[in-house]
C-alpha cells in the first residue's frame, strides 16, 4: 500500500528520514512533480505516531522544496502505478495548487468566547431563551466576520469553517508568504487588543495543509 506524504516541486534530494512505521521514503518524478511516498504493509494503521511521522516528513520537505502540497493521512494506493495514474490525471490542478502555495505557510486561528458566566437573570420562558440564543448566534457570526475580514485581506488565501459551537467564534486558516507572517501577527495583536473579551488561539506556521486540496475556496 502506497502512502503519499506530499507532492512537491523542486526537490533536490529526499530528506534523510524514515517514514511511517520505519518505512523508507521514496520518490516518483512525474511531469515535473515530485511525489514523496512510502510503501507500507497493508496492516499499518493510522495512529498518533503515524500522524507525527507524516508531519515530520512534510516539514522536512518544506525546507527542501520550492512548493509542497501536504498529503492527507488515510488515503492509500494499491501500487506505484496507481499513484502515477492519479498524478498524471490531475497534473494541471496540482501544478496550479503548487503555484498558489509556493513560498507560503499557513497560520491557524481559533477565536473563542470564554465560558459564559451566568447573566444573573434566568430567561422567563422557552421562547425568551431561544430568542436570546439566536441573538447571541447572530452576534457571534457578526464578530467572526469582523475579525476575519481584515486578516483575510493580508493573506494570499483563507479558509473558514463554521464555528463548532461551545463558544467558538471563528475557525480559520490563512495562507501567507513567509515574509508576511510578522505583519500578519501584528494585525492579530491589534485585533486581540481591541477584542479583549475573546481568546485567540494561533497555531503555526504550518505547511499549507488547508490550501493543498484543489480549489476549495
Amino acid at each position: 500500500m502506497i502512502h503519499v506524504y506530499a507532492i512537491a516541486e523542486g526537490l533536490a534530494e529526499l530528506p534523510h528520514l524514515t517514514g511511517i512505521d520505519g518505512a523508507d521514503l521514496d520518490r516518483l518524478e512525474l511531469e515535473g512533480l515530485d511525489v514523496v511516498f512510502s510503501d507500507l504493509d497493508e496492516d499499518t494503521g493510522v495512529d498518533e505516531e503515524a500522524v507525527l511521522q507524516h508531519a515530520v516528513v512534510v516539514e522536512a520537505l518544506m525546507e527542501r522544496c520550492d512548493a509542497v502540497l501536504p498529503g492527507r493521512l488515510g488515503p492509500r494506493f494499491a501500487g506505484v502505478h496507481a499513484v502515477a495514474a492519479a498524478v498524471e490525471a490531475q497534473a494541471g490542478q496540482l501544478r496550479d495548487a503548487l503555484d498558489r502555495v509556493e513560498g507560503c505557510v499557513e497560520l491557524g486561528l481559533r477565536v473563542l468566547e470564554p465560558p459564559q458566566a451566568s447573566s444573573g437573570h434566568a430567561p422567563r420562558s422557552g421562547t425568551d431563551y431561544l430568542q436570546a440564543r439566536l441573538a447571541q448566534r447572530r452576534e457571534t457570526a457578526r464578530r467572526a466576520l469582523e475579525l476575519h475580514e481584515p486578516l483575510s485581506r493580508l493573506a494570499r488565501a483563507s479558509t473558514t469553517r463554521e464555528g463548532q459551537g461551545r463558544g467558538e467564534v471563528l475557525d480559520a486558516a490563512y495562507l501567507l508568504a513567509a515574509q508576511e507572517v510578522d505583519r500578519f501577527r501584528e494585525e492579530l495583536g491589534r485585533l486581540e487588543e481591541s477584542e479583549r473579551d475573546l481568546n485567540f488561539v494561533v497555531t503555526g506556521p504550518w505547511p499549507p495543509y488547508s490550501f493543498a486540496a484543489a480549489e476549495e475556496t
Binding site: 503519499v4 525546507e63 493521512l73 494506493f77 485567540f200 488561539v201 506556521p205
Partner: protein, 75 residues
C-alpha cells in the same frame, strides 16, 4: 489544572496537527481511504482543550506553538 501552560499548548498544537493531517491536505482521486479508528475521540479531546484554552493567556506570544522543526518561515 496546576500544570504550566506549556503542556496545554503542546496538546492544542498536536490536536490542530491531527486535524490538518487527517482532514486537510491534498487527496488524489483513485485512492483508497482507510477508516481511521479513534478519530472521534481526538475531536472530543480538541473541543475540551479549546474550551480550557480560555485559561491560557496569549498563546500566540510563545514559540511553543510550533510542534516540529522550523518550516519555510525560518528560511
Amino acid at each position: 489544572m496546576n500544570q504550566p501552560d506549556r503542556p496545554l499548548q503542546h496538546e492544542v498544537t498536536l490536536l490542530e496537527l491531527v486535524d490538518r493531517v487527517l482532514n486537510k491536505g491534498v487527496v488524489l482521486s483513485g485512492d483508497i481511504t482507510l477508516s481511521v479508528a479513534g478519530v472521534d475521540l481526538v475531536y472530543v479531546g480538541l473541543r475540551l482543550l479549546l474550551a480550557s484554552a480560555g485559561t491560557v493567556e496569549r498563546l500566540q506570544d510563545s514559540d511553543e506553538t510550533r510542534l516540529l522543526a522550523p518550516a519555510a518561515s525560518s528560511r
